[in-house]
C-alpha cells in the first residue's frame, strides 16, 4: 500500500471523526457535496449513516425527541391517575411553574413547562421529559405557602433540566434506535422501519415510566435536583426554608403511616434529603422575608385543594 494512500485514508478518518461531532451538519454537508457532484449518492448515504451512529447516549437526543418522548410519558402517567380539573388551581400552579422556570438553568424548553394537578391523596410530584409536571392534591395539601410549592416545582424542573428521566432509557435500546435511524435516509420512515422504531419508542417509554412511578430516581439524581432547585429559589428570591419544612413534614407523615405510595416509594428518605438540604441552606446567609401578598394569594388558591 502506498504511503500517500495511507496518509489520505488516515486524514479522511480524522476529518470524518471531527465531523461526526455534529451529525446534522455532516448530513447537510454531504447533501451539498452530492448536489455539486463531488460525491455519489452512495457516499452521501455512507456519511449520513456513520454520522447517525455516533449518537450514543441520552444526551444525543434532540429537544424535539425529548418532547415527543415526554408527551407519551405524560399520557402514560395520566392513564394511571385522574386529573383534578380545577381552573383556578391549575392556572395558579402554571403561573408559578412558568415564573420559577425563568430562574432555572433551562428556562426555555422545546414546548415550555406545563403543570397538571392529579386528583389523588397520594403525596407525589412527577416530571416527564420535555417539561410536563404533575403534582398531586395530596402533595399540595402538605404545602404551607407559595415558597414551599415553588421549591417543589423547582425540584421537578431541575429533574427535567438535567434530563434525569432520559437517563432511565436502557443504553442498548438507545444504540439500537440510533442505528436504525442511521439506516433511514428518507425524510419519512418506511413502514417496516417505523414498526421497529415504534417498538423501541415503546421500550423507551416503559424505561422512563418504570423509573418515575415504580423505582424512582437514584439518590444522586435526587440530591442534584435538590441542589439545582436551591439555586433556582435563590435566584428567584424565594425562601428555601419552605422546602426544608416540607421535607420535615413529609418525614413526620411517613412516621405516622407506612402505607403511603408515591413519593415515599420513589424518593430517598425525606430526613436524608432534609439534612443535606439544610446544610446547603445554612450556607445562604440572607434570610428571605415572605411578603404578605405571596401568603394571601397562596391561601386563596389553597382553599380549593384542601
Amino acid at each position: 500500500m502506498r504511503p500517500c494512500y495511507i496518509f489520505f485514508k488516515a486524514l479522511c478518518l480524522a476529518v470524518s471523526f471531527l465531523f461526526l461531532v455534529n451529525c446534522a451538519v455532516t448530513q447537510k454537508g454531504a447533501e451539498i457535496l452530492e448536489k455539486t457532484g463531488k460525491i455519489t449518492s452512495e457516499d452521501k448515504e455512507l456519511i449520513t449513516k456513520t454520522s447517525e451512529t455516533v449518537r450514543t447516549s441520552f444526551r444525543d437526543l434532540s429537544e424535539e425527541e425529548e418532547y415527543y418522548i415526554g408527551r407519551s410519558v405524560a399520557a402514560l402517567i395520566l392513564s394511571k391517575y385522574k386529573v383534578w380539573d380545577n381552573s383556578k388551581a391549575t392556572n395558579y400552579v402554571n403561573l408559578l411553574t412558568q415564573a420559577v422556570a425563568l430562574f432555572s438553568d433551562r428556562p426555555e424548553i422545546y414546548a415550555g413547562y406545563h403543570t397538571l394537578i392529579l386528583d389523588t391523596d397520594e403525596v407525589n410530584a412527577l416530571a416527564a421529559p420535555g417539561g410536563f409536571i404533575f403534582l398531586t392534591r395530596g402533595l399540595l395539601r402538605l404545602c404551607s405557602d407559595e415558597d414551599t410549592l415553588a421549591g417543589i416545582i423547582a425540584h421537578e424542573i431541575a429533574h427535567i433540566s438535567a434530563r434525569h428521566g432520559l437517563q432511565a432509557i436502557k443504553k442498548s435500546r438507545l444504540i439500537e434506535a440510533f442505528k436504525l435511524l442511521a439506516s433511514e435516509t428518507a425524510e419519512r420512515f418506511a413502514p417496516e422501519r417505523l414498526a421497529q422504531l415504534t417498538n423501541l419508542f415503546e421500550g423507551t417509554l416503559d424505561d422512563i415510566v418504570g423509573q418515575l412511578i415504580e423505582r424512582g430516581y437514584d439518590r444522586r439524581s435526587e440530591h442534584e435536583a435538590d441542589s439545582l432547585s436551591l439555586t433556582t429559589l435563590q435566584r428567584a428570591a424565594y425562601s428555601p426554608q419552605g422546602m426544608l419544612q416540607f421535607l420535615e413534614a413529609l418525614a413526620q407523615t411517613k412516621t405516622k403511616t407506612t402505607s403511603l405510595k408515591g413519593w415515599f416509594s420513589t424518593h430517598p428518605e425525606p430526613m436524608d434529603r432534609y439534612e443535606r438540604l439544610k446544610a446547603e441552606v445554612s450556607l445562604v446567609k440572607k434570610q428571605v422575608i415572605i411578603p404578605k401578598v405571596r401568603s394571601s394569594r397562596f391561601q386563596q388558591v389553597a382553599s380549593t385543594w384542601k
Binding site: L11, C12, V15, S16, F19, N22, A24, V25, K28, G29, L33, K38, I39, S62, E63, E64, E65, Y68, I69, R71, A74, A75, S79, V83, N91, N94, L95, Q98, A99, L102, F103, D105, R106, P107, E108, I109, Y110, A111, H114, T115, L116, F132, A177, L181, E187, R188, F189, A195, L197, T198, F201, E202, T204, R235, A236, A237, P291, V293, R294, R297
Partner: protein, 159 residues
C-alpha cells in the same frame, strides 16, 4: 481519482468549518428575539425551530445575535445550540428561515410520525389531557405581574 475527490471534499468542509463566525440554531419550538437580555423586554420577532442566527455577544445567559436581515437582538442561551461546523454559514450566510427539508431532516428520530404509530398501536392511551396541558400558558405580562407583586426576581427589593 473519485476517492481522492471525496477525501479532498471532506478536508475542504473541515477547513471551512474553522471559520470564526459562530452560527446558532434555534432548538425549541419558538423563541423571542428581544431588544434587551431580559425575558420581560419587548418581543422584536419570533424565531422558530431550525432558524439560524449569528452570535455577536453574550451576557448573563443571553446571546446577542444578528439575523440575515440585519436585525440584531437577544435570545436566551437555552433556546439555541451552537453549530460547530460553519460550512452552511459560508455557503449561504446566516439565515432566519429553515427550509422544509432541513426541518424534516432535523426532525428525524422519535418524532410526530413515531408518536402517531405508537398511538395507532395503543388506541387506549388518551392524549387529550396532554394536548390540553400544552395550552396552559401564562402571558409574559401575567408572569411579570406575578413576580412584581410577589417581590420576586428583579423586584425582590421592592417595598
Amino acid at each position: 481519482m473519485k476517492k481522492l475527490f471525496f477525501l479532498l471534499s471532506l478536508i475542504c468542509i473541515f477547513v471551512l468549518s474553522l471559520s470564526k463566525t459562530e452560527i446558532l440554531i434555534v432548538k425549541v419550538q419558538s423563541t423571542a428575539l428581544r431588544p434587551e437580555p431580559n425575558f420581560f423586554s419587548a418581543v422584536k420577532l419570533m424565531l422558530k425551530a431550525g432558524d439560524q442566527v449569528e452570535k455577536l455577544d453574550s451576557k448573563g445567559g443571553w446571546f446577542q445575535v444578528r439575523l440575515s436581515s440585519g436585525t440584531v437582538g437577544w435570545v436566551h442561551s437555552s433556546a439555541v445550540q451552537p453549530r460547530p461546523s460553519q460550512l452552511m454559514a459560508l455557503a449561504q450566510g446566516p439565515k432566519t428561515q429553515a427550509t422544509m427539508s432541513e426541518v424534516a431532516l432535523a426532525s428525524k428520530g422519535f418524532n410526530r410520525q413515531v408518536e402517531a404509530s405508537y398511538r395507532q398501536k395503543h388506541p387506549e392511551i388518551d392524549y387529550s389531557w396532554v394536548d390540553r396541558m400544552l395550552g396552559f400558558k401564562a402571558s409574559t405580562e401575567a408572569v411579570e405581574t406575578f413576580l412584581r407583586e410577589g417581590q420576586l426576581g428583579e423586584w425582590k427589593e421592592a417595598k
